[in-house]
Symmetry: C2
Subunit: 364 residues, 2 copies
């Protein structure tokens, strides 16, 4: 018998949204690489290749295909920065099981974004690069957009600290805790906060702070976050280590085998995706132009994240040599318009997101 | 020779702001105590007394002396909750040197505030009580005010995690790190976010997100945070342990003796207080009514915090029996209208807050 993990195959992603890409993606990437070289967020050539290989310019060009060139560039810079920071300071660096150290780094990182001109950044290129992003952001974005990004950034770091704390205890969180944590740790809050900056269209607070818009935002970014769990799971199988992700949570805590866990994970993800689509449709008729663009780009983000993940070395590169070319074919699932689970209403096992479904208006 | 710590005496607080108190403070306290008993944020009678003895109703009634009764009550409930949570989960509880555990608790706490009806709160009265506060807040406050409080709450927990991380390594942070951390860990962000809720007056985003308003907010709450450092330092002397606070930071990292550290700390605090007053005066003429109320209440908060601290058992109770009545007299410093240090411009040793001074408009 073969190990079922060897037969692991990704089902197609339920995503009835067309792909899109900013027409200036190549120019944006070129300028972003020049910035990476300027701020120096790598130690050596291999790390430089890895940072550039995150294809972050392509990534965000899919999120905001109609965005303003300079603003999409700024957003892409942050995405490159986020991946680089993640590699050296979060997931895989020496802090990955040192929550005490990580929260200190996170506190400094957050402050350098919040407070311009405040830190001697020559010592730490990651701080310097983020400081530079903050300065440019104050030029290109409105104070409200900047504040939203700052708050979203803190939410991300807060959740990454939680993840690192679990890692330090070698503990796999339960499902509801995991979903709460993943909502923040996937980086979706700052990424989605960059949408209105990329598009140069500030959403009024009365709309952005509305619980239904918040629910749509959370649903969209968690969909993408769970998709990334599936992408990275396969890579982790190859690397023989088990990080905190939706599949491992379901295997560990629900006693599922891999196949069942995969089904459940995709089912949950599909229900969340459907909720986003529903809230999107519900909000559109009354939405301001800026909100309409924002909500639509949330969906572009889900689709863009899938399309990006299928090409990016981060998920497709196989470290072990046994990954053969034909197998690589199997690792390219496509999208489908049919959800694997179309149950209405909230998943009972995840109370921390149940309120999203309360935002759905039912016609009588 | 006597230990200089035994002669430690607090200088008067520079605070040219008149005291004020909500006229319904007694009724608010009575209702708050009924709520404390309902949600049960204590394990035994001693802990109940400690929670009630934080005088949080009086505390917030000084911050928002003209606030709406129900809203000031809600704010007071959160302050009681915050002190109770701090005692059992942050500063002094079993998590006080377990950053890995604290970030998990903080993640759950934050989510129960963000996401209504999401957690089985019967298991943990602290979660249940905060959930209850969130529900009431959604009734009494606007979505934007609620969102601001939620983001401020996360900033607090984020900084407390940093503090606990330092504690775990038994490390006294450097001055700039300490100020950045203290800005968040003192709880000023959520407390000040309750001002506009208490007053029932939403500050427009174009004003609240303006860097000058942000600088005034940070300066005011850090003034109060440093005042609390001075209050608690004396208690810590009595308890013979040295927590992270401004005095210990200056002693440890600048090589100052206690008297010099006290002078420096008070000087820094007074410069920050003067900056708040300056930005307040600068902003007032153009401010909306809601912003004017908010900015004025920041100052009421500084003064109210001093007046509250002089009476509250948290700072005035002396655990060791040697604290005699005459000595207690010395522990009641008053306010003065003259700053101990009136140097203009930012303190060079604290780059993370230097940008506040950039917000001062100089007349030509």
């Amino acid at each position: 018998m073969t190990d079922p993990r060897e037969r692991f195959q990704m089902p197609p992603f339920y995503c009835p949204i067309e792909p899109a890409l900013h027409p200036e993606v190549d120019m944006i990437e070129k300028r972003a690489i020049a910035w990476i070289d300027k701020v120096g967020i790598y130690d050596d050539e291999a790390q430089r290749s890895r940072v550039i290989g995150t294809n972050s310019a392509e990534f965000f060009s899919r999120f905001a295909p109609g965005g303003i060139d300079d603003n999409v560039l700024l957003a892409a810079q942050w995405v490159y920065w986020g991946f680089a920071f993640d590699d050296v300071r979060c997931d895989r660096g020496p802090l990955s099981d040192r929550p005490d150290r990580f929260v200190q780094v996170a506190g400094r990182v957050q402050r350098v974004l919040e407070a311009p001109h405040s830190v001697d950044t020559a010592e730490d290129p990651y701080l310097g690069a983020l400081h530079d992003i903050g300065l440019t952001m104050r030029e290109l974005a409105t104070p409200t957009q900047v504040r939203r990004f700052i708050d979203a950034h803190r939410a991300w770091l807060h959740a990454v600290a939680w993840q690192i704390g679990n890692q330090a205890r070698n503990e796999m969180p339960g499902l509801d805790d995991y979903i709460t944590m993943r909502l923040g740790s996937c980086g979706g809050f700052p990424t989605m906060a960059l949408l209105e900056i990329g598009n140069g269209a500030e959403v009024p607070d009365s709309e952005m702070d509305h619980p239904t818009v918040r629910a749509a935002t959370e649903a969209a970014l968690l969909t993408a976050g769970l998709d990334n769990d599936l992408h990275s799971y396969r890579r982790e199988l190859q690397q023989q280590h088990t990080d905190q992700n939706i599949i491992n949570v379901l295997i560990r805590h629900e006693g599922h085998d891999l196949q069942r866990a995969l089904l459940e994970a995709v089912g949950l993800r599909d229900r969340i995706m459907q909720l986003y689509l529903r809230l999107h449709a519900q909000l559109l008729p009354q939405a301001s132009d800026a909100l309409r663009t924002y909500l639509t780009c949330l969906g572009r983000g889900i689709r863009g994240n899938i399309d990006w993940a299928l090409r990016v070395p981060r998920y497709t590169d196989s470290t072990p040599p046994e990954a053969s070319a034909p197998e690589a074919q199997h690792r390219r699932p496509t999208c489908t318009d049919t959800p694997s689970d179309d149950t209405a209403g909230p998943p009972s096992a995840v109370p921390s997101i149940a309120w999203w479904w309360d935002r759905v208006q039912h016609h009588r």
